[in-house]
Symmetry: C2
Amino acid sequence: MDVVVISIGEELLQGRILDTNANFISGELLKLGLPVNKRFTIGDKAGELTTLVNQIQSSSRLIICCGGLGPTVDDRVRAELAEVCGQQLIAVAEHHQDVLQKQAMIPELAKALRNRRGTAWGFACQLSKATWVISLPGPPVECRNTFLDGGGRDICRSLAQSCANAFGVFHTAGLPESKIERALGDLLDRPNLQIGINASPLQVSVSVLTQSRPGEISAEHLLEKTAAELKQCLGELLWGRDQQSLERVVVAELMRQEHSVATAESCTGGLVAAALTSVAGASQVFGHGWTTYSNHAKQSQLNVSDELIERYGAVSAECATAMAVGARQGANTDWAVAATGIAGPSGGTEDKPVGLVYIGVAGPSCAYAVRRRQAARSGRLVVQQQTVRDCLDALRRELLGLSCLPERP
Amino acid sequence: MDVVVISIGEELLQGRILDTNANFISGELLKLGLPVNKRFTIGDKAGELTTLVNQIQSSSRLIICCGGLGPTVDDRVRAELAEVCGQQLIAVAEHHQDVLQKQAMIPELAKALRNRRGTAWGFACQLSKATWVISLPGPPVECRNTFLDGGGRDICRSLAQSCANAFGVFHTAGLPESKIERALGDLLDRPNLQIGINASPLQVSVSVLTQSRPGEISAEHLLEKTAAELKQCLGELLWGRDQQSLERVVVAELMRQEHSVATAESCTGGLVAAALTSVAGASQVFGHGWTTYSNHAKQSQLNVSDELIERYGAVSAECATAMAVGARQGANTDWAVAATGIAGPSGGTEDKPVGLVYIGVAGPSCAYAVRRRQAARSGRLVVQQQTVRDCLDALRRELLGLSCLPERP
C-alpha cells in the first residue's frame, strides 16, 4: 500500500514556482518511517483531484494533498475531497467574512488541522478503512505549520506503527562536495547506512538514513554512532546538524560569549547583515551594519583611505581588512566581518576575475583577510551567497578558536 | 492528450533534493505552447517506470522522463523504455569502459540527444503513433543541456506546431490576493483565457494562458489584448511582467532618471540593500546603505535624535521618516528609503504588534512614512520580505509620479 503526495496548482505545472512542499513532506514522512512511494502534481481544474484520488485510493494507505485550500474559485480541494469521502462540508469556526468562512470548512467527519500561519484550515479524514487523506494549505510556511504543529504529523505517526528508520543531516562549510565525499572514506560503503551528499551555495550537507534489522542496534543508536564518526572525519568543517543554520550557530555563540559583531559589505550588498538579523533576538549581538557599495561610502563610512583603495583596489585583502577594522571601530563591537569582491556577471579582469572575493575579519586581537574564489559560472546570487557563508564561517572559526577559514585561491 | 513529466529517483522521494528539473521542463514546455498537465515522481525500483508508462501511454502525447540514465545498477530507464517500445538497445558511441558504454545505449529507433555536460546520452522515441517519450539525464545542468542544446526542445517544438497558446505573467504589489481577484472582475470568466492568481511575500502575480481557436484572433494577440485590460483593471498596482522583478524595475527607472538612492534599515536588516544590489549594474544608482538595528546606530549613523526615539519609539512614522532623511543626507542621494518595524516573533505589544512596520521615504521634495501591517503569522522572514517589497514599491511610485503607497493599518 502506497504513501502518496499530491501537489496541486497550475503555478507548479507552469514551472513558475518550485515545489518545496512535496520535498518537505517527503523528508518528514521518511523520518517517521513512512517513505513516500509516489508523488503527483496536478492542476486545479474541476474534477482533476477527484479523478486521481479515485484511481489511487485502493492502492494507497496515506494520501497527502498540498495546495488548493485558499479563498479563490480555483481552490476546490475541500469540496472535491468531501465529495470523494461522501461527506458534507461543515464549519470549524464561524466568520462574518465569506472569504474566511470558505477557508474554515472541512468534511464533517474530518479532524481539523489548525494553521497558525494563515487563514486556511487543513484537515485529515478517512477515505476508507485502509486509506487516510490529509489536506494541507499550499503556501510553504502554512503547509509546514499545519503539518508539524497543526496535527498532521501526529496522524502520520500513528499510521507508522513500526518505525525502524532514523535520519539526520550534518552541515559543513569550507570545502567543496567532492572533497567532503573523499573525507568520508569507507563510511559511504556501509551496508546499513544510506549516505547522501548535497551541495548548496550555503553549505555542503551529508544526510544519513539508518535502518535497524532485528537483533541489531536500533536505528537511532546507529545514527548517533555515525554522527560521532562524521565528527571525526570532518573535524572543524562540521558546524551543525538538522535544522541548524550557520547564522543561528554564529549568533548563539556570540550570545554565549556576550560578544557583538558589526558588518561591512560591498559585493554582498547587505546579505550578511540580513543573515544575522534573520535570527530572532539577533539585536543582542548585532546593532550596526554598513553596505558600502561605492568607494566613496567605504571612505566616508568606514575610514578606508583613498590611498589604500588607489594602491590596492577596492577588491583586495588590504581593503577587506580596513573595512572590517573601520566597522569594528565605528560600531564599537568585539568583532567585525567584511566582504569585498566581484559578484559579476561583468566587472572581472584577468587579475581579478568574477568570483574573486576577500573576507575581512577584525577582532579583539586580529585583523586579516582571506582570499576566496567563488563559483562564478553559477551566477551573481551564488557568488553572493557563498560569500555570506564564508563571512559567517570565518567568524564561527574565530569565536570557537579554530584555524582561520582556509584560502581558496 | 496529456503532456507529462516523470521524475525518477529515490533521493527525490526521500526529500533529500528539490526537483528543479520538473520545474525547468514545465517552464520550457509552456513557452512552446505545450503546457504540462501532470507530473509524477517515482523511485528507481525495477518495473516502476514500465508500469506507469503503460498506464498513461494511451492518454498522453508527450512523456518526458528525467533521471535514471546513469551508470549504476539502479539506473534502469534505458532498458525499461526500450522494452516498453519493443526495441533493442544499441550503442550511439563506442567506449572501452563499461561504465561509459552503458550510458551510450539507446533504443534502436530512437533519436540520440547529446549531453555536453556529462557522459549519459539522452534519447527521444515514439511509443506509438500518437505518443513520444523523451528521456533526459537527472543532474540539473545535464538535464538542461540535453534538453536545450542536445535536441530535446527541437522535438517538442515540432510536436507543438499544431498548438496555439500564449502565456504571460503580470506582477502587482500593494494589495492582497483576494482584492486583486476582485479587481479582475469578469476577466476571470472568459472562455478562452485561463487566469491564475499566485501570491508570494514579494508580489501577487496574475498568470494568463490564452488559446486561439480556428477563425479567431491569434493566442499572442489575445494575450496582448488581455494585458491591456489587466492594465486597466489594476492601474498603478501593476509593476511588471514575466521575468521582471520589482528591484530591476526600480533600478532601471533610477538609471533612466539618473537618480540615486540610499537605504536605512532596521527590521529588514539589510535585505532592501541586498535586493537593489542583486541587480547587476546597481552601483550606478546605489552606493550607501545602513543597517541600523540598534537605537544607538540610528542615532550615530543617521542622526535620528534621542528625543525623537524617546517620544515616539523606534517603530514609528517619525523615526522612519527621520531615518530616510538621515540616509539621504548622509549619502547625498536623490532618494532614500527606510524601514523600521517589528519582525517578530517576539517584541510586539498591543499598541505595536508584530508585523507593524513603517516605510520611510525621502526625496527631492518629500519626506514621509507609510504605516503597513504585514502577515505576522507567516513568520519573521515573510514580514521582512513584505517590507522589502513595500520599500521598493514606495520608491517605484515616487519615481513614476504615482500616488503614495497606500497605508495598510
